[in-house]
Symmetry: C2
Subunit: 341 residues, 2 copies
């Protein structure tokens, strides 16, 4: 309704306030970026005319909407929460508002949300990982909406990205696990299809085995959607097999928290009877008992740098290339030597 | 850029495909709501003309954008995650896309985000709790953007809402705590200013005390932003006072998880030395050891009903009034009798 009725225009407001339409637009979109005196004058004109911002008019005036979209696979479990929080804080410092969509790890939903955010005028998009229909990247190029990939890093892919090498990170942890003497490794992985991060983490474990000349057959992999309950169920399955693993490496901290719970319910002590590792180092890793040994992802650094890089793309149109962040191991209390050594 | 260059219009596509502009708009916005044959015809016309949806034109054609905005206080800690997930699923069933903003519990940021979502053409908004500048409600009314309040319920406020009575819920838990014999009650509350849910939860505890003729002076309240670390710090402060509480009631499960950690680090057993309670019953409540006694909030039911109610507002324009959901106590392992009884 608000879009069809006749209303005072942005031009009317600009004339009355004696400023440019871009300034009016900015007063409405990002008041923090306008000096107080101008803001007051514009807002008085807005009130006097009964002007209600019409977003078509605003886009025409500003070219940009100062809105950034992010599509993340899930809002549950806080995997992306800390990084997104830092992303949003930095965007806000620069006068941009963040709108977030959650795809439930479903490519079809992600596509709908990308299109919706573009249709709503997003100046740029943050996407998690690389793995999606190439047609979507072409669509974004046609729409001239820059996209930045985060949470992953692939130097051989020509997309702007801020992330880390999931495969090398998990290989580093697996090497640590092998150093402890483990040879029967259980893996609880997220669903690999459509998720390059999950796929690369499993490959990282294989890399570490291969580097020591150990057959990947020593590894039992269960794939399951990320989730506490699913980690618990998978752990139960692994530990009730005829040759249970001495260590269970999980694709993220949420699965690992579930695995800890599963071990506890079965009466297995961690790490005395079985070791468990995670990935992400979200707050949950310190909440569980014992505290989780995991891969530390620099969530806040990634979020802040992603905001800077995406704004550079939006404002300058130049690609920032792919930037790799350093990951580290966070050794806590769930990884120890195998029982029978 | 994409908004200023000359491009084929929605009308062109509609003519070429032999359908109405509304149908074209729907094919682009919500393809699931259009039969396959029509969709194929429209998409062919889109491809042939090189049409790229211009959201101004789309809004003109559809009147609605089939986009719903939600502004939540935080994406961290998954407090709102489960409810939002159900909200999004139901919206999607009805052909709507959800865009989410997170305000970091900051009224100024929330206002910016409300305005940004309205400017981006949101058909309706989900807001958490009632407590905000009345000018914002007037702004939404002027913009003809319906808003639904969730996570709270106040029958005396004339706003559409789906929620629960935070005060009565916490009073129910406090009454349970008193039944166990506790009289020295520590409270770790979220920041009350601007947060009616936090305020009402503390009032609920006072109600339960008053109902038994117990002075509220038996209660020590620490206010702190929701967060695991903050719960831990507040717990330490409470337990190191000259007369430590026998039970610590927390404003949510995240604070309670931190409190459990604080108790553990100080060497206090839960519930033998001190009882701890939470609020929300998010997954975290089952992850911690011992498992948390808390107030169960029907997150998924609330999310689903909120979607139905908000769409009714958007499509029918009729208020759905305020609907109250039933909460229950989830008694697990962190509440027991006080030590010295």
């Amino acid at each position: 309704m608000r879009n069809t009725r006749s209303i005072p225009t942005l031009d009317d407001v600009a004339k009355k306030a004696g400023v440019s339409t871009a300034t009016v637009s900015r007063c409405i979109n990002t008041p923090d970026r306008v000096v107080q005196s101008t803001r007051t004058r514009v807002l008085k004109a807005v009130e006097a005319l009964g002007y209600t911002p019409n977003f078509g008019a605003r886009v025409m005036a500003a070219k940009r909407t100062f809105t950034i979209g992010a599509i993340i696979p899930t809002m549950e479990n806080a995997i992306f929460a800390r990084g997104l929080q830092a992303f949003q804080e930095e965007l806000r410092n620069r006068g941009y508002t963040l709108l977030v969509s959650s795809s439930s790890y479903d490519p079809q939903i992600e596509e709908e949300q990308i299109r919706a955010l573009v249709a709503r005028g997003a100046d740029g998009l943050l996407l998690i990982g690389y793995d999606r229909d190439p047609a979507l990247y072409r669509y974004l190029e046609r729409q001239a909406v820059p996209a930045l990939v985060a949470w992953a890093y692939a130097p051989d892919v020509a997309l702007p990205a801020i992330g880390f090498d999931n495969r090398a990170a998990m290989a580093l942890l697996a090497e640590k696990v092998l150093t402890f003497g483990h040879r029967r490794i259980g893996v609880i992985s997220g669903v690999i299809k459509g998720n390059d991060r999950a796929a690369n983490r499993v490959m990282g474990i294989k890399d570490a085995l291969a580097a020591r000349g150990i057959s990947p057959d020593t590894m039992t992999v269960i794939e399951t959607p990320y989730g506490f309950e699913n980690g618990e169920i998978a752990m139960t399955e692994l530990m009730q097999s005829s040759t249970p693993p001495t260590v269970v490496m999980c694709g993220n901290d949420v699965l690992a928290a579930g695995a800890l719970r599963g071990a506890s319910l079965l009466g297995f002590g961690v790490p005395d009877d079985v070791s468990v590792t995670g990935f992400d180092d979200i707050e949950l890793a310190r909440v569980v008992t014992p505290a989780l040994t995991t891969v530390h992802v620099p969530h806040r650094e990634m979020g802040t740098k992603a905001a800077t890089a995406l704004i550079a793309l939006v404002e300058g149109g130049q690609s920032v290339g792919a930037q790799e962040l350093t990951i580290t191991l966070q050794l806590r209390d769930t990884l120890g030597p195998p029982k029978n050594i």
